[in-house]
Symmetry: C2
Subunit: 203 residues, 2 copies
């Protein structure tokens, strides 16, 4: 929304409380949910991201041809699906979610798997960025947002081996410099600070 | 593709063999992949479904306004995400996948969870269809395709309690009558036949 210069207020929703008024807005009872002026309600991360590009096309974040949009969406699936399954859940869910939900000790096998898998994904980012300005092509797109969102969660733990993956690091430094992303990097988990370099674009 | 009257040939890809030529088309090494005349390659189920609607908009399967598309996509996420997690994996993965991959006995707790959860989803379909012609509104959409795809997998096992959910059953009978869907219902797993009523629109 910041990339599109849209004004918005954030509201916290404790989805686990299953508040009746919230369930009436979104029967799936999850976030994000967007309430538009005039009370149109848009639910679901995928539907919402696509909706914003449909409704507020300046600048377009999915691309301007069917083929360009397919490439952006392929990479969004890559990061929201494959990266999430192979890296994020193994590291972030084990180290942070389990701690906050008091679900016992992190599983060291899962953490090892996540720490191994992340190299392959950083190589893939490096391979893409060697030929392209941004991940899905020469324009900044939702693929960059999706990849950076996942990486920033892992980076909050200090678990991204940036030094071994310079092209990916250079791309991520450009992401960190974007005003839209800087706001997000200011978000902290109370009682669990990120590494010092976390929000620094010159890391 | 049949709904859009697009001609195509199907090719089988044994993704677990990780064939090099296939990996070059799709580094994620999963299906579906579409090869267009002229060799444009479109990968990933989500990107591919959206691409077909972008490129061949007659008839539109995602709707004609940003709001209508958001509703279709919300429901696609509902079925591909929530239904898949709460029902399909618990029933289809346990009963079929485990058998074919020789992964041991089905987990009876998972099967019980799937059999309970499906009622809630059939009620939700009934609730939607009470007010609408099709799941996402008055036009047939990709939400119907997504819901029917998941339900047909569970129905192949004979595990959909249709008699307790008449409105959902009436909607599914209409789905079964569509020529595009009839072809799919002809697909069988060798050595594992579906119930007799499976492909019958008057079930």
């Amino acid at each position: 929304m910041s990339e599109k210069k849209l004004q918005f207020d954030m509201r916290l929703e404790k989805v686990w409380e299953r508040r009746e008024d919230f369930m009436a807005m979104n029967p799936a009872c999850d976030v994000p949910v967007l309430e538009e002026p005039g009370h149109t309600i848009i639910c679901d991360a995928y539907a919402l991201a696509e909706y914003l590009d449909d409704k507020y096309p300046e600048p377009q974040l999915y691309g301007d041809t069917a083929e360009a949009r397919a490439e952006v969406r392929r990479l969004v699936s890559w990061f929201d699906g494959k990266f999430h399954r192979e890296v994020t859940t193994n590291l972030v869910d084990e180290k942070i979610l389990k701690r906050f939900l008091k679900m016992g000790e992190p599983n060291s096998e899962a953490i090892r798997a996540g720490s191994t898998n992340i190299h392959y994904h950083l190589d893939y980012i490096g391979w893409l960025i060697e030929e392209r300005q941004w991940l899905a092509g020469d324009r900044f797109s939702y693929a960059d947002i999706s990849a950076a969102a996942h990486l920033s969660c892992v980076d909050y733990l200090g678990d991204v081996p940036w030094e071994e993956h310079r092209p990916a690091k250079e791309w991520y430094a450009r992401m960190k410099s974007r005003p839209s992303f800087r706001e997000i990097l200011g978000d902290h988990i109370p009682g669990y600070p990120p590494p010092e370099y976390y929000a620094d674009p010159d890391f």
